[in-house]
Point group: C2
Chain length 437, copies 2
């Protein structure tokens, strides 16, 4: 049992939601399959065989991350993280916890000319820093953004040492971004070779931007370690939340046709976390015609956008509602004002009371409509909680992928699109430098 999060899958069961839920038999079959996968991995994971999570047990790499963060913080007002997918989403999720970031950390994850122009117009280039992240070192978007922005920075900051405002994170070896780093005299932090991009949130890829934003990166790792150990300690699938979660997801897919998995936290600060999960799950299990489609949603916002469909549309989804303890938090509505408005049910309530009531009401309402709901509860949305959630979902995703017979660590189909884009550009490279069309 983790102290940072708990999971309740009773809302997925026929005993709670009727015929649309899992029978005990259906769950038992999936539980056994999950336990087979988990048992086969468990000893290996305990010995560090899943570095994406076990990296959280390290601390010898944190000093270097902190040093770079301190140096950039001392010389930059704004730091743009240039990276896409796994080089961005985990860091975005962690940075969202910062309530008053000492440095304005932005994410440039798209080579959109309008976005770049707005970014440049909104900053003082002489006080801008760049964190350029690409595991392979060859990501086209990252290279183009780096190659267009770094020259501007080098000019604007001509009196400053490059290490005061730029750093690269990439695998060791000869690759395009390392060649650029060498040409620009930019320090490089190694991207762990044995951790794939979408699993890299607990490495420097997630933690350097988080440290810049003032997030407590020790607490992130401590939360992940605690959740890892809590899962490893379980002696049955019921006591391994990651394996149980995988079992429930796949049982719902197989027996109830739940082809979509909606991740809906009741906390704005977890909205980027849901997008991190979306990549993790989609790229890990979405192959060979298998998998389910992850959807990120946000409570209570999407009650007013998606809930109609969720309650009354096709029965093809499972829901993970991430709740937090909210009662009594936030500003309180004056009873006089609420009574004057004729909204007596709001008299004396706080913003947190309302959000708390909404998260419970949504869970109840989904159950009443026969829609399977898993609840993940955190006491509070903080560093330890998000570290624990990241560890949980990395473990759950890997378990589910193996249950589906997929390799959780590859993404073979993406290369097709990359190669087509590269070919299109190569075909026009001869005319490069010509007149813009």
């Amino acid at each position: 049992m983790s102290e940072f999060y708990s999971q309740n899958v009773s809302g997925c069961m026929a005993g709670t939601i009727g015929d649309d839920g899992l029978t005990d038999d259906a769950l038992e079959t999936a539980r056994a399959a999950a336990w087979d996968v988990w048992s086969a991995m468990r000893a290996d994971i305990a010995e560090g065989g899943f570095p994406a999570v076990s990296i959280a047990q390290q601390s010898d790499d944190l000093a270097a991350i902190r040093d770079v963060a301190a140096r950039l913080s001392a010389h930059c007002d704004t730091v743009a993280v240039i990276g896409v997918g796994g080089s961005s989403l985990g860091a975005e999720a962690l940075c969202a916890l910062a309530s008053a970031p000492p440095v304005d950390v932005r994410f440039l994850n798209n080579p959109d000319p309008e976005t770049v122009a707005r970014f440049i117009a909104s900053v003082d280039l002489a006080r801008v820093g760049l964190v350029m992240v690409s595991k392979s070192g060859g990501t086209a978007e990252t290279l183009v953004l780096a190659m267009t922005l770094m020259p501007a920075l080098i000019e604007a900051r001509s009196g400053d040492a490059v290490a005061d405002y730029a750093v690269v994170i990439a695998e060791p070896g000869d690759n395009p971004i390392r060649r650029l780093a060498e040409a620009w005299a930019t320090p490089v932090i190694d991207h762990p070779v044995d951790i794939g991009g979408r699993y890299a949130a607990l490495s420097a890829v997630g933690l350097l931007p988080a440290a810049l934003a003032g997030v407590d990166i020790d607490a992130v790792r401590a939360g992940a370690v605690e959740a890892l150990e809590a899962n490893l300690d379980g002696e049955t699938v019921e006591d391994v939340p990651a394996a149980l979660g995988a079992a429930v997801s796949l049982a719902l897919l197989q027996s109830q046709g739940a082809r979509m998995s909606v991740m809906m936290p009741y906390a704005d600060a977890l909205a980027p976390f849901a997008r991190w999960y979306r990549q993790l799950w989609a790229e890990s299990v979405g192959k060979n015609g298998r998998g389910t489609t992850p959807i990120d949603a946000l409570g209570s916002v999407d009650q007013h956008s998606q809930l109609q469909l969720y309650l009354d549309g096709p029965k093809d989804k499972m829901f993970t509602i991430v709740t937090q303890q909210l009662a009594g938090r936030g500003d309180r509505v004056s009873p006089d004002l609420a009574n004057h408005a004729g909204a007596t049910y709001l008299a004396g309530q706080t913003t947190g009371d309302l959000l708390a009531a909404e998260q419970e009401a949504t869970i109840e309402s989904l159950c009443a409509h026969g829609r399977p709901v898993r609840r993940i509860e955190v006491v509070r949305v903080d560093e330890a909680a998000i570290g624990a959630l990241m560890a949980h979902f990395m473990l759950e995703t890997v378990t589910a992928a193996f249950m589906l017979g997929c390799d959780p660590f590859d993404q073979p189909a993406v290369d097709d699109g990359k190669e087509r884009a590269r070919q299109r550009l190569a075909d026009t490279a001869g005319s490069a430098g010509g007149a813009p069309t």
Copy 2:
């Protein structure tokens, strides 16, 4: 034919993508059904029977919108729009077009205590304004945010007239937010009675925040009018893009099992537009067990997050890729730098060249994997284009809902969750004002 956007559905057809595409017969059946619905509505729409879109033909309400915007702009540095769902998403989509907003327009759409605290900590309350939007006047989230923030503003701005910093948009009649507006002496703009929340983007609900952000609201409406007329002018379903789009979507659902509809623009400025579409479609067609699930994605970002699943996961989606003309736009990569990096295919390319290549490559790659793709092209992401796209998708959504036998304008299931939340709060109202738990 609209001059602001074009639609190409050839990537949904068996002739292009093989057996996973629509046969001519399957499309023809859906086309006939769409034409029946469209023909039945067409004369009525032409006479203003679909006020959500035909409001764009008006201009007599713009002066009032502009006056309020000017007054708030003169007295506020930051304006928070308090509203949820339809009271927020259309405005967010329009405000995203502003490259240098004269007023910092923020959206408070969630009663999250942490978000509210961060908002207050990030502004000078004496220079903050509020636009409070609720069609019914009784939306709980909007009321709680208004009732907690307005008293703080009234105190912080005690020397100022309320009309300098606050406005309400709500239906006429006696409702909670109007009672508050009266108590606070806050001006009220009427929310059109005959336009539902999710269809309100072209009314003051969308246009007042847009005007505050410096968006050209005349051009938004002009784009919508042009697209409306282009659709009304069509003499066959091929010439009515909204009807053809509805036909293709439902034919793909029925004959190919495309239960999800992915909206993926290649423009950061259209990311909020995709979320606006997500509500519009979900709440309009997601009922009685019918409908498809809309998913918002973003190019090129989600090539590195979702494309693996889209290309190689289950064949249960259709894709709408919104492209723009990008070649030659943006900053150019130095050929020397690209050659030094060993990324010669990027030599002399601009950010826009890369994004242009990516949007084409994604369409090609989806087609090559037998995934149905519709392309919507705009020349440039600007006010006229987004007005046209909003008109198109409102018309398409209504057509699709009627084809499915759904009422496009209600959302009956949402009320269940609302009532449950209200009841939970009412149950605790006796203890309100007691110690926070």
